[in-house]
Amino acid sequence: MNFAEVFTTVLSITGISAALTIIISLAEMKLNDYGICTLDINDGSKTLEVQGGQYLLNSLAANKIFIPSACGGKATCGLCKLQVMEGAGPLLPTEEPYLTEEERENHYRLACQVKIKSDLKLHIPEELFNIKEYLTNVDVLEDLTHDIKLVRLKLPEGEVLNFKPGQFMQFYTKPYDKIKESVFRAYSISSPPSEEGYVEFCIRQVPDGICTTYVHTALNEGDQVQLSGPYGDFFYRGNTKTMVMVGGGSGLAPLRSLALDNLAKGVDANMSLYFGAQKPRDLYYTEEFRDLEEKHDNFKLIQSLSRVEEGDDWDGLTGRITVHLDEDLKKLEDPTDVEAYLCGGPGFLASVRKVLIDNGVPASQIYFDEF
């Protein structure tokens, strides 16, 4: 290959690429110029001025509003749903598979597919503005039972964690022992929002669990812990006169937060908290709840142990908690006036759910926090 040939090759490739680039840039300038557009979020509670022609998801992220998205804007995860009330243009075929009939009627769109071409009116759930990262310090670390630890974390001075009881946080571990990487796991908040400046979790030791082992063996009082949140749609709805909470194991955590918050607020509903465990050593927060029972007529705690052996110090209910729940539900006059809040493992939840549905509690009024 001689010099002239190399020269022509380089020159022609450069020429063609440059020509195409110039054409695209000109086209983009001319065709993709939609000027400055205004995003009106939640009926004027926040307005943003953004350059038109971008995708909504990216534009919001640039303005520090993070819509959950797993695929990064390729319309393959369907997580970045939000309501665009005005200005979004026709629904795209890429969005269709992810939106139900009901969502379409309510103007839901995928933020990664909506291009900003004019002023938009958006509805973004308040919770999404709330999600933040917190650097906390371990204030208290103590055993609640033989395998559940209370972890009380102190938020940085002046920080407020704005959450609904029942929601969860992501808890980040630091590398320890043989675990070389930081991992995060989700734990329900067990303290009510009124505990300003602090947040509590009940963390049960899971055999070989990376995060639970970290909490149970490596974490010390005073250590720094990174959290993010709050997340989740498990929170009190309050549309009925009867509230049933059912938990097993560390599933008591979000229910404690729910119950304490509702009682502090004087919610007018009959609340029953069912807690199922195996042995007396698995029970925790019993005294606290018994105190609340005495102070409030509309709250009661029902504990049942399934593996009581002779010699155990226990004179309460025995057997599976679902049996007692079943008996109590049968006594209710109107089982459709019940909202149920469940937290526990998948098998436990399925059996509790079955009892509720068999007794006429509408499926739409049963809320889960599964782990």
């Binding site: 490739i13 054409i23 075929p93 598979p97």
Partner: protein, 197 residues
Amino acid sequence: MAPNISPLVIFIASIFTSNMVLANFLGMCSYLAISSEYKTASGLGKAVTLVLIITNVANWAIYHYVIEPLGLEYLQYIIFIMVIAAIVQILELFMDRYMPDLHANLGVFLPLITVNCAILGATLFQVIRNYSFLQTLLFNLGSGIGWWMAIIMLAAIREKMGKAKLPPGLAGPGIAFLITGIMALAFVGFSGIFPVQ
């Protein structure tokens, strides 16, 4: 010199005897991925037809007026791909601005098509076979219609099959491959009617 075949024969042949998907197995990726719903499949098929015609007419011009005179044949792949990518991008911007409804139906598929090998395949066929302008035009129109036909046939079958009870291992791409194979066998029946080169 361009081959002495009537453009009309090329048109019919590129739909049936040398169908892009079923005879040449080009454009399989989007063919399999976007064929679970008839409506979207049809949208993609139309978009492929449109892009085939526009980009390959442009590539024909580039080949005959730039690549050949300058002796850049060894760079043709790169140049063709750049031209396809650029045209698709401009086409999308244009549709988005001036034809929002059409964009809503076809536009979203355009970026997918940039990397669809049926497009580059057709470009290379037309260059190797030395087609004239009219032959190129009808070849691409036929190839597009053939690709569209193949994907809507598969989509229609897959939609019906949604109600069928398939062995779990076969559901999804597995059965789509089998159907494509059977359709391709059926299309072999057309070969011999029109030889196309």
